[in-house]
C-alpha cells in the first residue's frame, strides 16, 4: 500500500534559500519595470522576481523547460501565482536580463505586475468540462493576444483582472473581476424522461432549481420544466445528464464588469452585467475580443489614476458607463432574482 493522508509537501522544502533566510522579514518592494519586482529584506538582502505569463495548460516538456531556466538562474526553485503566472526568483541582480532574454526567446511574455493586465483566471471549457456553455482556453488565448501589450506594459489606470468561467457554476469564480467573461445558456433544458427515470433522484433534480421551475412528473417517474420560470443556469444539468441544456444555436457569452476582491480604498464588489449576450464564435470569438478591448479602452481613457474599473463606474454612475461605452441598456440589466430590490434606484439623484 502507498502512503496516504500525509498532505502536500511542506512548503519549507520548496523555498529558495534567500526566501528562507528572510521569511517574514521583508522590508519593502519596488516594481523595477513591468514584470520585475525587487523585494528588500530587513537584513538588506534582495530578491528579484521575474513574472512570466503562461497558457496555464502546460505540457510536461514545457514544465521541464521552466525547470531548466530555474536551475540556471534560480538555484533550482520556481513558483507560480494565483493567476497562473510563473515567477522566477533571483538572488543575483545580474541574472535578470539574461533570464528575460531567454524567456522572451521562447516567446513567453514578461509582465503582469502593478498597473499591467495580469493573466486571466479561467476554467476548463470544452477541453475537460461536461457542463460548459463555451470554451475557456480558446477565448482566453484570443483575448490575451489582443490585449498582449497591456500585459507587458504598465499603461493602465490601475490593475486589471479579467477572468473567464464557461458556465454559471463559475469554477473560476469570476464574479468579482474587473471584467468577467461568462458562458451562458439561453434555452430551458430538454428532459430525457426515459434517462431521468433511470439515472437521477427526482427530489435532487427538483431541489437543484433556484427558481422552482422543476416539478416532479410521477407518471413518467421524471420531472417537468415550467419553461417561463427557467433562467437556464444549468444547475439541473450538473445534477442530471437527462436535463440536456447545451444548445449550440443559443449558448454564448455574457460580459460583466466592475468587480474587485481587494479591500484597497473601496470594499470588494461584484461584477455587474454589461453585455447580456455575444455569440459563440470559435476559434477567435471576435465579438467577445472586441467587446473586452472596448471596455478596457473606455476605462483607460476616462478613469483617474489608480481607479479600478468598478471604482471608476461607481464614481461616474452606471448610467454614464452605458453612455460612454455605447452599450445598449436592456431589460436584462435589471435584476429579477431574490436580491434585486437593493439595485433599484430609490433616489431622484442621477445623471443624464
Amino acid at each position: 500500500m502507498p502512503r496516504t493522508d500525509f498532505g502536500p509537501p511542506h512548503y519549507g522544502e520548496m523555498l529558495p534559500p534567500v526566501i528562507k533566510r528572510n521569511y517574514g522579514k521583508w522590508a519593502y518592494h519596488e516594481i523595477l519595470k513591468p514584470g520585475v519586482l525587487k523585494h528588500v529584506a530587513e537584513s538588506g538582502e534582495e530578491v528579484y522576481t521575474v513574472r512570466v505569463g503562461s497558457a496555464r495548460l502546460l505540457s510536461t516538456d514545457t514544465i521541464r523547460e521552466i525547470c531548466e531556466l530555474a536551475d540556471k538562474y534560480c538555484d533550482g526553485y520556481v513558483r507560480f501565482t494565483s493567476r497562473h503566472n510563473i515567477e522566477f526568483l533571483l538572488s543575483n541582480k545580474e541574472n535578470i536580463e539574461p533570464l528575460i532574454a531567454e524567456v522572451k526567446a521562447k516567446g513567453w511574455p514578461v509582465g503582469g505586475t502593478g498597473t499591467c493586465l495580469s493573466n486571466m483566471v479561467h476554467t476548463q471549457g470544452w477541453i475537460h468540462c461536461h457542463t460548459p456553455a463555451t470554451d475557456a482556453s480558446g477565448i482566453v488565448k484570443a483575448v490575451m493576444d489582443e490585449l498582449y501589450s497591456y500585459f507587458e506594459e504598465a499603461k493602465l489606470p490601475a490593475k486589471l483582472r479579467i477572468a473567464l468561467a464557461c458556465c454559471l457554476n463559475m469554477c473560476g469564480a469570476v464574479h468579482c473581476s474587473d471584467i468577467a467573461i461568462l458562458g451562458i445558456h439561453r434555452t430551458p433544458p430538454r428532459v430525457n424522461h426515459e434517462m431521468l427515470a433511470k439515472v437521477s433522484e427526482i427530489p435532487t433534480v427538483v431541489a437543484s432549481c433556484p427558481t422552482g421551475a422543476i416539478r416532479p412528473n410521477p407518471k413518467l417517474k421524471s420531472v417537468d420544466v415550467i419553461e417561463e420560470r427557467c433562467m437556464y443556469c444549468g444547475n439541473c444539468y450538473t445534477m442530471s445528464p437527462a436535463m440536456e441544456i447545451m444548445d449550440p444555436e443559443n449558448d454564448g457569452i455574457s460580459i460583466w464588469v466592475g468587480g474587485k476582491v481587494s479591500n484597497a480604498r473601496s470594499a470588494p464588489m461584484f461584477s455587474r452585467l454589461a453585455i447580456p449576450y455575444l455569440p459563440n464564435n470559435p476559434p477567435r470569438w471576435p465579438e467577445v475580443v472586441e467587446a473586452v478591448k472596448h471596455l478596457v479602452e473606455v476605462w483607460a481613457t476616462h478613469a483617474r489614476k489608480g481607479e479600478r474599473m468598478g471604482e471608476w463606474i461607481e464614481r461616474i454612475g452606471w448610467e454614464s458607463f452605458f453612455k460612454l461605452t455605447g452599450i445598449p441598456f436592456t431589460d436584462k440589466h435589471i435584476d429579477d432574482f431574490i436580491f434585486s430590490v437593493p439595485t433599484f434606484r430609490t433616489t431622484v439623484q442621477f445623471r443624464w
Partner: protein
C-alpha cells in the same frame, strides 16, 4: 501526426500570447491521448458544443475524492480519450517548488497520463489532465512515493490555498503558508473522504489586498489584519513626495475614511488611527514608508461563493480579529464547530453561506458560540421583524 486535421484550433497557435494548442501538440508528440483531445476540441469548435459525458465515479484506494471521472462521448472517434480522468494533486502552500519536485511530477505524469497539466487549477491544485481508470492507482502510488498527496473534490473540504505571504511579501500580517499547511493536515480526512453536504473552500490571504480572492471564493476566508496604528516612517514618506508622488491626490484623497492628512509645511503624514479601516491603499502606494501595525492577526469571514444556487455571496465577517500562532488551536476549534453545525443542518448541496441565509446569522452565531459584534454588519436592521429566544422573554406557562 495531426497535420491539418484540426484546422480550427490550429488558428490558436498564432498570436503573441503563449498557446495552449502548441502545448497540446507538444504533448501529442509523445502521448496519443493529447492528440485525440486536440481533435475532439476541434470538433467542439466546429459544433459549438462540448463532448464530455457526465462524471463517473473513479478513484484510488483509501480516498473518496481527488479524481474527477471524465469520458468522451465520442469514444469511437477519439478512443485515446475514452477515459480521460483528472487527478487533483495538493500543491505546496504558496505554489513554491523545487525543480526536482516538478520534474518528478512530470516523469510520473509522462508515464501514466496525457502529459498535459494545469499549473494550476482555479482552486489551487496541480491538475494532471487526463488518464485512464487503469492508470489511476499506479499513478497515485508513484505520486505518493514522490511526496505528493491528492487534493479535494466533491462534497468535502477542497484544497486550501494561500497567498505568497511572509515568504516574499512585507504586507503579510499572518503566516499564510503555515496556516494553510497546518489546516490542510488537520482536516485532511474531510479533504480526502468527502462526507459533507457540499464543497467547502478555505483560502488564506496575508492582508486586505487578498491576492487569493478569499473573500469572493472561500466558504472560510482568513485575511490578515492588525490592531492599532499603522507604522509610519516619516523620512521615507518625505522621500516618496520628493521623488514626485502626488501625495494629496494619490494617497490622502483616496483614503476611504479620511484617516490621513499631509502636513506639507512640516513634511509630515498625520494619521487618525481610530479612523483607519486597514484597507491597504496607502501602504500599497508607499511600501517603503508605511507598514501594518504591530498587533497582528486575521479577520475571519464565512459564506463566500459563486452564483449557484442562491446567488453569489462575498464572505461575511464573523470574527473581526483572531491572533494566529501555531498550532492555531482557537481557529481549528472554531472550524470544527462550524463544520459540525453545517454538516448537521445543511440540505444536500447547500453551501454554508446559503445555510446561514436560510436559518439566520443569529442562529449560526449562537450554535458556533460567537458573540455578535457591530463589525459584523455595515448597519443594523431596518425592519422590525425581530426574533427573541425563549429564554429572553417571560411566558405564562
Amino acid at each position: 501526426m495531426a497535420e491539418s486535421r484540426t484546422p480550427r484550433v490550429d488558428e490558436l497557435e498564432k498570436g503573441p500570447w503563449p498557446s495552449f494548442v502548441k502545448e497540446m501538440k507538444r504533448a501529442a508528440e509523445k502521448k496519443p491521448a493529447a492528440g485525440d483531445l486536440l481533435r475532439q476540441l476541434d470538433l467542439s469548435y466546429e459544433e459549438k458544443v462540448g463532448h464530455w459525458k457526465h462524471g463517473g465515479i473513479v478513484g484510488v484506494r483509501g480516498y473518496g475524492g481527488g479524481v474527477i471521472g471524465r469520458y468522451s462521448n465520442k469514444p469511437e472517434e477519439f478512443p485515446e480519450i475514452r477515459e480521460f480522468h483528472t487527478i487533483r494533486v495538493n500543491q505546496p502552500s504558496g505554489w513554491f517548488y523545487t525543480t526536482k519536485a516538478l520534474r518528478s511530477l512530470c516523469d510520473i505524469w509522462d508515464k501514466y497520463g496525457s502529459g498535459l497539466t494545469n499549473f494550476h487549477g482555479s482552486t489551487g491544485d496541480i491538475i494532471l489532465l487526463g488518464t485512464t481508470t487503469e492508470n489511476l492507482q499506479p499513478c497515485f502510488d508513484e505520486l505518493s512515493d514522490a511526496g505528493f498527496d491528492l487534493g479535494g473534490s466533491g462534497g468535502g473540504l477542497r484544497t486550501p490555498s494561500a497567498c505568497v505571504g511572509p515568504a516574499r511579501c512585507e504586507y503579510s500580517c499572518i503566516d499564510t503558508l503555515d496556516v494553510c499547511h497546518s489546516l490542510t493536515l488537520e482536516f485532511q480526512d474531510f479533504l480526502h473522504r468527502p462526507q459533507w453536504p457540499y464543497k467547502f473552500k478555505i483560502k488564506v490571504s496575508g492582508c486586505g489586498n487578498d491576492c487569493v480572492a478569499a473573500i469572493a471564493r472561500a466558504d472560510l476566508a482568513i485575511i490578515g489584519t492588525w490592531k492599532g496604528p499603522l507604522q509610519i516612517n516619516q523620512a521615507a514618506v518625505a522621500e516618496y513626495v520628493k521623488n514626485g508622488l502626488d501625495i494629496e491626490e494619490e494617497v490622502i484623497e483616496r483614503c476611504p475614511t479620511r484617516a490621513l492628512a499631509w502636513d506639507a509645511a512640516n513634511g509630515e503624514l498625520k494619521l487618525s488611527a481610530e479612523d483607519c479601516v486597514r484597507c491597504m491603499h496607502c501602504i500599497n502606494r508607499m511600501p517603503k514608508a508605511l507598514k501594518p501595525g504591530t498587533e497582528r492577526g486575521a479577520t475571519l469571514l464565512v459564506g463566500g461563493k459563486a452564483t449557484i444556487l442562491k446567488s453569489a455571496f462575498l464572505g461575511w465577517v464573523i470574527v473581526p480579529f483572531m491572533s494566529l500562532t501555531p498550532p492555531y488551536t482557537e481557529l481549528k476549534d472554531l472550524m470544527g464547530r462550524i463544520f459540525d453545525w453545517w454538516d448537521e443542518n445543511a440540505k444536500n448541496r447547500e453551501r454554508i453561506g446559503e445555510l446561514i441565509y436560510r436559518l439566520g446569522m443569529r442562529t449560526f452565531l449562537k450554535e458556533v458560540g460567537l458573540p455578535p459584534v457591530p463589525q459584523m454588519v455595515f448597519r443594523p436592521r431596518a425592519n422590525p421583524y425581530v426574533f427573541w429566544w425563549p429564554e429572553e422573554v417571560k411566558r405564562n406557562a
